[in-house]
Chain length 672, copies 2
């Protein structure tokens, strides 16, 4: 019956919107020759990275597919061959969204810069449309993928494969992209700004294009894949819980509800998007905020009606609302702890009076204290959701948090486009007025990016919780009659799992921090070499070798991403085999708790350091070049890989380990 027709329709609508927005951006004026040249260099670099990355991913995907297929033949494993199919589809869809997002973002940067010539809101409209292409592709392909696979296989546990595929691509995209973007950034800044004293985005700096590429690679492709994963994982977990746990008047309706909520979320997001694309508001920030609020309100309204009509009770709707509100609270808290207009970042700036050591300590404190609100918000959402609708409610609350992803992701992906536009206007020498406008765009982008980061972390935590509950329910479903998995804290295997699980995010963070360090070091060497050998600073005729820098970032990032990524995939399987399903359950909750805390700590400490520096740069505490400024530059350098590489990668780590556990659970039980 058939409100569920909304699902494929909304998915197709989302893709059509994406296509429409893509062409509406494409027909904009791409700017003068110099701008087009720069934009093309950035696009080439970005696509080159994706291509090299996909070469590695294809191998990974083939191996895992074969393993999954082989596992279906192990006697008693209960792993179905369909898992390998849905794994490939998940990986493919995630890769496609990344590809679309990157193509659009790298096409829009020069157009956004050119658009701001006309008006600020024109620039906003282009940059935002470009982000919305990514947002709509993610939700469209997400909903369609899950819907079609479920229609074919009619088995929710097959869908875990889809989540696993999405997670795998997300992991490599986030970790690889994060290493790329920070190594290029640090390399460009350390040698260009600090050593040679030339401005940011100076075209004489050989790493400057790699730096722009990094914004796309990390913040567009990485962020998109991350949220694609959360989006589909939350839907899949809800469907699986409905199918296995039961307790509804119509199980089939309960299974379809998350897809339907997602469908209405898409429609609402499209409406919210139009508000920005065709809007003419002067205050950029409030235009973006209003579109988010409108989409949220409409989604809640539609979801309430659908739940009532479909389930015959508003309880799951209350659960969904809890998730939606928790997401907003976490976003606001992130904004408070990192904004240069608020006390925490300003306190860090003040601590710069006594030098870099106090800046570091103050920033660490800020990051640690900032964990309170997100943790309590997630805990409250979980308890409320559970109260109303059990495990299913917790999963629905994650769906609720992510239902407006179509528009909220657009706000995130708008940031790097604005950043690129700012870079291009600088490099193309577009004059002071235009640069002022792109700077305004960029500044709003930074605020929305900070909120988006908080949102990504919160949704990762609650999605992982939904996956853990799915794990428990699935395990008890799979276990032979009479056996149950209680996952009691009185079981030393569970405790052992919790300890090891809590340790993994620390180790993972150490590895990703180290990876950035090594890649950045290679970049520093290269930029120094070019400055010296080509005499770039004093000889206008010699052109810097941008490609070489891009190649270094690409190769290093891909090389360094392998160890931490494999650790994430393999640890749960090993722990599951050695410490049984009980230890694996402990591992999951331990890693979520510690990974969530570390992710918030790393993101907010890093964000606060960044903005403490900006606070001083805008003329406080002695301004640019003062001793206090130097101290905050050190803080910002420490925070950069924390907030842009390690922190966001932890989101994937915790989701991926949960979904890997779900996929391999039947095998682990069979081996136990």
């Amino acid at each position: 019956m058939d409100m569920s027709i909304i699902v494929p329709i909304s998915g197709i609508f989302a893709l059509l919107s994406a296509i429409f927005l893509f062409y509406s951006v494409k027909k904009q004026n791409p700017g003068n020759e110099k701008m087009q040249e720069l934009s093309s260099a950035i696009r080439k670099g970005s696509m080159a990275f994706l291509k090299s990355e996909y070469k590695i991913l294809v191998i990974f995907v083939i191996i895992v597919t074969l393993l999954l297929y082989a596992a279906s033949f192990i006697e008693g494993s209960q792993m179905e061959w369909g898992l390998s199919v849905s794994f490939i589809v998940g990986a493919l869809f995630s890769a496609i969204t990344g590809n679309i997002g990157m193509r659009t973002a790298t096409m829009s940067n020069s157009r956004t810069a050119e658009g701001t010539k006309k008006s600020l809101s024109k620039g906003l409209s282009i940059a935002f449309s470009s982000g919305a292409v990514m947002g709509m592709s993610v939700v469209g392909l997400g909903v369609l993928g899950v819907f079609v696979l479920y229609t074919i296989f009619n088995n929710t546990s097959i869908l875990f494969g889809f989540g696993f595929g999405a997670s795998s691509i997300a992991l490599f995209a986030r970790v690889g992209g994060g290493i790329y973007t920070k190594s290029a950034d640090v390399g460009a800044d350390l040698v260009g700004k600090v050593e040679a004293g030339i401005p940011e985005d100076d075209p004489r700096n050989p790493a400057v294009i790699a730096d722009q590429v990094g914004d796309n690679v990390g913040d567009v492709a990485g962020m998109g894949a991350d949220l694609f994963e959360s989006y589909v994982d939350s839907i899949i977990a809800t469907m699986a819980l409905a199918a296995i746990a039961g307790g509804f008047a119509s199980i089939e309706n309960a299974v379809m509800l998350p897809l339907i909520i997602a469908g209405f979320g898409i429609i609402s997001s499209i409406i919210g998007t139009l508000l920005v694309v065709f809007g003419k508001g002067k205050n950029l920030y409030s235009v973006l905020r209003n579109s988010l609020f409108l989409a949220t309100f409409l989604t809640a309204l539609f979801a309430g009606i659908a739940t009532w009509y479909f389930i015959g009770s508003l309880y799951p709707f209350y659960a969904m609302l809890a998730g939606l509100i928790a997401g907003i609270i976490i976003g606001l808290s992130t904004e408070y702890f990192t904004s240069e207009k608020r006390k925490p970042a300003q306190d860090i700036a003040k601590s710069a009076k006594t030098g870099p050591a106090t800046v570091i300590i103050q920033g660490m404190m800020t990051g640690m204290i900032s964990t309170i609100v997100p943790v309590l918000a997630v805990v409250a959402a979980m308890l409320i959701a559970y109260y109303f609708a059990g495990f299913y409610g917790v999963a629905i609350s994650a769906v609720g948090m992510l239902s407006i992803l179509g528009v909220s992701l657009a706000t995130d992906c708008y940031g790097p486009v604005a950043d690129n536009a700012q870079g291009i206007s600088e490099m193309a020498g577009m004059g002071k007025e235009i640069r002022g406008r792109t700077e305004q765009l960029d500044a709003v982008g930074n605020t929305t990016a900070a909120m988006g980061k908080g949102f990504a972390i919160g949704s990762a935590a609650i999605t992982s919780l939904a996956l853990i509950f799915t794990y428990i329910v699935t395990a008890n479903f799979l276990l032979p009659e009479g056996e149950t998995l209680s996952l009691s804290l009185g079981d030393p295997y569970v405790i052992a799992g919790i300890f090891i699980g809590a340790m993994l995010p620390f180790v993972f963070t150490a590895l990703t921090l180290g990876a950035v360090g090594k890649a950045a070091y290679a970049m520093v060497e290269e930029v120094r070499r070019q400055f010296k050998e080509l005499n770039l600073l004093n000889n206008d005729k010699n052109k810097p070798d941008y490609e070489r820098c891009i190649k270094i970032s690409t190769n290093r990032a891909l090389k360094e991403m392998i160890l931490p990524s494999l650790m994430a995939v393999i640890s749960p399987i090993i722990v599951g085999i050695v410490l049984k399903p009980a230890g694996l359950g402990g591992l999951l909750i331990g890693s979520i708790a510690s990974g969530f805390l570390l992710a918030v700590f790393l993101a907010n400490a890093g964000g606060a350091w960044d903005n403490a520096k900006k606070y001083i740069e805008s003329g406080n505490m002695g301004g640019k070049g003062s001793e206090a400024h130097k101290a905050t530059v050190i803080g910002d350098t420490v925070g950069d890989p924390m907030k842009d590489t390690s922190g966001p990668s932890l989101n994937i780590l915790i989701k991926l380990m949960s979904i890997v556990s779900l996929v391999f659970l039947p095998l682990i039980i069979a081996l136990g």
Copy 2:
């Protein structure tokens, strides 16, 4: 039977040894007038701090005692009035050991300095004897306290009050002492060494005596109280598990076994101590190590025999061995990650080439990676201990780890005495040769202190695990017939508790880091003021006002310790009431997992930064005064409050929250 007669005998023996060693130190030559004057100033400052601290503690103890007593009248609470008695005794005993330790340490510093005039081993003997007074007092009072209270009440749950009393004093001693020592240290260094350019321990620096006092307050009183708590908690947990869980041929024997092992540990520790006190070895480090190894070997031997004789099985002995070995492994791992002779600290020194930001990142990585070995060691010890003897085995393994505390604590407390002796020789201008010798003593002290810190963290983790299992068993014992507390990860209250529990160590760390910052800032202002107003650097006639600095450290430390300490005591009670015993159980495991990881991270990152600086100071990478040196000084300043205040305080946090939960569990169940 009565092998249990060994318990009071060994306790009395320990106290007699302490008295004997105290007088043997006292009769040593206290040095010339100048040295005695300095030593007396340090003693006065230390005792003044203790006195002010005890004034606050007395109020706290009275309030809690009354509350405990009142709680025994709440209907159905099952809290016995004896808890209030054992709470007072626990608090009193902990305070007495702190007092004895401080008196001895502050008496021994000038005598150690004078002793090194004769020979290095003479100096070692005095400093170590002084540490052994503390070690023997701790184990003697610990064993006697538990034994007497158990003999009187014949009820193991009354003993939780003793642990609670010990934990409360430990908390204030660690947090207050930690804030004191680092604020004085940072204040003295930042203004004296960095701004004024005078050497460390220069008598013109007004904070120099406060700095020496801090070593005693933090590293003697704080460390002693911390390990007194672990020691008695592990014994109490074992006794309670034996009494409630049962499953032994003779329950009474199983209850007494931990005390008997502790008794044999004391005898072995006395023998080990004699090896150092009367030894004449040239290599200080190997003398200390040999005494530890001898004590370990003898304890294992005696404990094996006692277990066999008493329980009729060697299984609990294997559990004990697992704990003992895990303790050694954690100590060695700490040594590896922090020693200036090893790769991690040297890598940090090398990263100083690219400035302070890379030093900070490299140090954080080191701290995070260094969690692997301690976590796996504790997990392995727990699983092995459980395999052989269930929950009881896990508790016994904690007892095993701590059984040689009499001698291992002596090695820890020897450090600050050597440090003080070094300071006195510097301030009294004792000449280069003597200073060289005290430096050697001090250097060995630093290594043993690092190992001691790792050991303290590991023992806190495994003791807390023993307490958690005790919590589960006790809860199921107290619950009405038919109800059980399964603490399943499928219970959202448990998950909520785990999240909040994992968050608390982050918040606690932020609070203690902030406290040091504020106290240090007040000290910096005061030292600057005195330098300026009294013109101390250029006018020999004006004497610095040492007392004022001591007063500032004291007042600030005591003021700042209150908030984090109350948080530690109150959080478990609130969570227990709101989220029921299930949520409280989650809180405990969450806090242990995240607290243990953070403690290792903070201690090892801090230690590695410290020794990276020392590595450069000993002539590498450009040596003292180079840019690389300055970068590592920043790392060291960041690491100081991490390793000496926040990290060690976390040990107490996790134990205290567990013991508070055990004490108030009957009330929480009654209110549920």
